[in-house]
């Protein structure tokens, strides 16, 4: 068994009150792509942080080429040839590609940078591994896919042998994912070994040789990809069988719930408009999905509709009423619910208890307050009902401080509160972000149920799987504009991907101010 380049044996890592890794063994063969599979919170990141020297394990050993090594910090890991592409890139935006690659390992002569040789070395590497980058471009000007290639080049420049990819596909379009898969296979041919962290089963099936599955901090098993199936892997990951979502076809109605006309929302980041002349309608009984790569105006579109940001022009009509100039509370009362993108920033007052958070949009209504005095008994009663109805798990029921709840249950609480408002329109932004498979399934079912009850759901999602699975109609946003309206039954993720990167624009959206 001497052919393992890295072995992590019986690793145990505890945080106060939590065992993040419990007796986990991971063996990476030389020249293989080894996937590490698990849900959020399964302990993948902790395990990789142990390997990378960010955490010290309580128990267990790490071996490199059969010899026990002591990794105290990332520098030790680097010396051993271990490199990592983080999920969120660690690049200096205003530096060029080349500067980023050499950063931290700058070659110098008499204290001066020797960029000429470095440039040649980087160009050579990029040719050898087929990683096309413009070394003189600034990071802020290049695409996310290219930024990732820069991260890979960084590892290669440091002559790392063991490459860790932490959820590398999360930020990529389908085309870029295909490209990355090719790159990974290429790297293996050149003798590198790869650890590939993911929770996307089809990618693992496509690219990796073996998979190690973790669940809730425990080691579940290691299997050869050739000898397993997606179903088996998903069962190993979740611990039970996952039903595919059954969706009745949408009951078509002509009742327009939300109408957005020529909406323009200025950007806080740059001079251009974040949302540039967008018009569409959402009808009762449909899930309308806005797809797109992060930062193409979807967030601002929602801020404009919900009133969190001022719009510069356009009109918004909800249930036949013009809400363009209404306050947020009046919009809510007119019939708008909003599951926000960032549940910690917007969705919850983390230091309030669950009961108060569930009443955040109701506390001012008669019944919850009398003459300005809050009826805390009523708030508790109200929350107890929602807690049971939506199965929100919390240690102390309505008295639980929201901060101490898990992400999935925090999200359940927000959804419970928003649906309880009984609004005709439900705006849901990334409602499944960072949640595990079980919770995602649950939320999807809830959204579909809302649709079936005749509500209009406006879903903003970055996950193409989600878009394909539950939407009835898809709008693709690129650069602040809608570039396509698609029927999920008649399109493919690849086609959506082309619209998402702006490579294609439907004819009807080419003219300024097109209608959807």
């Amino acid at each position: 068994m001497g052919d393992y380049i890295i072995e992590m044996n019986h690793i145990r890592k505890e945080f106060p009150g939590v065992v993040a890794n419990d007796d986990i063994t991971l063996q990476l063969k030389k020249g293989e792509i080894h996937a590490l599979l698990g849900e959020n919170g399964a302990g993948k990141s902790t395990l990789m942080s142990v390997l990378f020297g960010l955490y010290r394990p309580e128990k267990g050993e790490i071996r490199k080429d059969g010899e026990v090594v002591n990794i105290q910090n990332p520098n030790d890991a680097n010396d051993l040839g271990i490199g990592m592409v983080h999920q969120h890139f660690k690049l200096v935006e205003v530096f060029t590609v080349l500067e980023n690659i050499i950063l931290g390992a700058e070659p110098t002569k008499y204290g001066f940078l020797t960029t000429k040789e470095t440039r040649e070395k980087v160009l050579e590497l990029s040719k050898k591994f087929n990683l096309m980058v413009d070394v003189d471009a600034k990071i802020e000007d290049i695409s996310v896919g290219m930024q990732q290639r820069v991260e890979i080049l960084k590892m290669l420049y440091r002559e790392n042998e063991i490459l860790i990819f932490d959820e590398p596909t999360a930020v990529l379009t389908p085309q870029e994912i295909d490209e990355l898969m090719k790159i990974m296979k290429n790297l293996i041919k050149e003798g590198k070994s790869i650890l590939f962290i993911s929770h996307k089963l089809n990618e693992i099936m496509e690219v990796s040789d073996r998979v190690t599955v973790l669940r809730k901090g425990k080691y579940i098993g290691t299997v050869d990809v050739d000898k397993t199936s997606i179903d088996q892997l998903s069962e190993m990951m979740v611990g039970r069988k996952i039903d595919s979502i059954k969706k009745n076809p949408a009951k078509k109605t002509d009742e327009v719930i939300l109408e957005v006309n020529n909406l323009i929302v200025p950007s806080k980041l740059h001079k251009n408009n974040a949302v540039n002349n967008v018009s569409f309608q959402t009808r009762a009984g449909e899930i309308l999905c806005v797809a797109g790569i992060e930062g193409n105006g979807q967030s601002e579109l929602v801020y404009g509709i919900t009133g969190l940001e001022k719009i510069s022009s356009g009109s918004i009509i909800l249930n036949g009423k013009d809400i363009t100039k209404m306050s947020i509370r009046d919009r809510n009362l007119t019939g708008m619910s909003h599951i926000p993108e960032d549940r910690h920033k917007y969705g919850l007052v983390l230091d309030f208890n669950l009961g108060q958070n569930l009443a955040l949009k109701k506390y001012f209504q008669e019944g919850f307050q009398h003459n300005g005095f809050i009826d805390f008994g009523k708030i508790k009663e109200h929350s107890e009902i929602l807690i049971d109805l939506y199965d929100i798990r919390s240690g102390k029921r309505s008295a639980t401080i929201a901060r101490s709840m898990s992400g999935g249950n925090q999200q359940k609480a927000i959804i419970a509160r928003e649906i309880d408002c009984g609004a005709k329109l439900l705006v849901a932004v990334q409602p499944t972000r960072g949640l595990d498979v079980g919770a995602i399934e649950n939320i999807h079912k809830t959204l579909i149920k809302q649709r079936d009850q005749g509500k209009a759901v406006l879903l903003v999602s970055l996950e193409l799987d989600e878009v394909m699975d539950i939407s009835d109609r898809i709008l693709v946003m690129y650069n602040g504009k809608i570039v396509a309206e698609l029927d999920p039954k008649k399109t493919t993720p690849q086609e959506i991907g082309l619209y998402m990167v702006g490579a294609k624009v439907q004819d009807r959206f080419k003219t300024v101010g097109g209608e959807a």
């Binding site: 009150g17 509370r329 926000p340 969705g347 101490s404």
Partner: protein, 404 residues
């Protein structure tokens, strides 16, 4: 038997943690005070050791005087209560703003303006005491309103505006002082109220020392009202929501800007009443100064911090600080007044570490309770830890103003 009927009932654990929330607050305040006192004692030793002729009995003499004086006689107790009243008011002012996430470092300015307008109302306008207090409240409130509007409309940090308005308040008051000869006795201090308008002096309670007035009771009444507002009303709910998470409040439809303006208005009004209570006691005239801000407003900061901004807690902490000040006076003449100030400041300073102590206690409890709650927290543990660090470090800055 408790868990027989519903499987979700987690009663035993519930009681443990529910009690502990309040307990942690109280314990950490008490521990901080003890630690503060110990530091005070150590400090006394240190200054003794570095003297040319150390006398090791001095620290014990000083410390025991400091500790005992506040209880030593009815007269001292009355003095503690009398001094606590304005402290309580500024403590409430600072604490109330804290609840809305605002750091009102301008309590001293609002206090000054409130004090002076109380005197203007009393001396120039011949108002009775209660009307003069209302004038003080309005003046202080307006002085708090300005930074509130700047914060809400232009998002200008209230720390900057309130600090600037502190000095503006001082010179504004000086200007009014010199332009209204009717108010002053000499060019340094205002007229004695007993001469100028006896009806403006807060009613005393008929106890031997005339300066034992109803001030402390007015202050306690305010504390109770503020407590009810914060804990029972929709307005208080909105204030706390804004203080904890402004974005979420806006998202939930709360008019955060309006809440900020109202909060600063009320906060300023509370400090203004504090000024009124102090100067309508009839025992101290307002003395013109152009080099130092009145320390009273700053003392409100440790008072509020030590009580975790809880209005009822502020009643107790203001009494404690007042007790230290009265005790400090008894350390003279062995220690100079400046030295006494330093020592009481050291104690207040370390007492304000209550927040850190409470975090330590919580951490310890988490470790001990561990397993039960931990499982659902797996993925948030790190987030929480880092946020807790932030929580400790943010309110720590106020201590800079905690000088006496």
């Amino acid at each position: 038997m408790l868990g027989l009927k519903s499987k979700k009932d987690t009663s035993p654990q519930k009681t443990i943690t529910e009690i502990s929330e309040l307990k942690v607050t109280v314990i950490s305040s008490v521990v901080s005070i003890i630690v503060g006192l110990l530091f005070g004692l150590v400090f006394l030793f240190i200054i003794e050791v570095i003297k040319e002729t150390p006398d090791m009995t001095n620290p014990f003499y000083g410390f025991s005087n400091l500790m005992v004086e506040g209880f030593s006689s009815i007269r001292s107790i009355i003095k503690v209560l009398y001094k606590a009243a304005p402290l309580l008011m500024v403590g409430l002012a600072v604490g109330f703003a804290f609840k809305a996430g605002l750091f009102n470092i301008g309590a001293t300015g609002q206090y000054t303006v409130g004090a002076f307008f109380a005197l203007i109302a009393a001396i120039l306008w011949q108002f009775p005491w209660w009307a003069a207090l209302i004038v003080a409240m309005i003046a202080g409130g307006l002085w708090g309103l300005v930074p509130g509007i700047f914060k809400a409309v232009f998002n200008i940090n209230e720390v900057i505006t309130t600090i600037m308005l502190n000095w503006t308040a001082l010179f504004f008051v000086n200007l009014l002082f010199y332009n209204n000869p009717g108010i002053y006795e000499s060019r340094e201090r205002t007229m004695n109220l007993a001469v100028a308008n006896p009806s403006a002096i807060l009613p005393d309670l008929g106890v031997s020392d005339s300066y034992f007035n109803i001030g402390i009771f007015i202050a306690i009444l305010f504390a109770v009202v503020i407590f009810i507002v914060l804990e029972r009303t929709t307005f208080g709910f909105e204030i706390k929501a804004c203080g904890n998470n402004k974005n979420a409040s806006v998202y939930a439809g709360i008019k955060a800007k309006r809440t900020i303006v109202y909060t600063m208005l009320i906060s300023g009004a509370l400090a203004g009443v504090g000024g009124g209570i102090q100067y309508l006691s009839g025992t101290v005239p307002y003395t013109v100064t152009s080099t130092t801000l009145l320390p009273m407003g700053f003392n409100g900061i440790p008072v509020a911090l030590l009580a975790f901004s809880n209005p009822l807690g502020i009643i107790i902490t203001s009494l404690f600080i007042s007790y230290l000040q009265v005790g400090g006076e008894a350390m003279q003449p062995v220690y100079s007044p400046e030295m006494v100030n330093i020592i009481t400041s050291v104690i207040i300073y370390f007492s304000a570490f209550a927040l850190i102590v409470s975090q330590l206690i919580k951490k310890y409890m988490k470790k001990r309770l561990g397993g039960d709650e931990a499982t659902e927290e797996t993925d948030v543990v790190l987030d929480v830890a880092s946020e807790e660090v932030n929580k400790i470090s943010t309110p720590k800055t106020p201590e800079e103003g905690g000088e006496k």
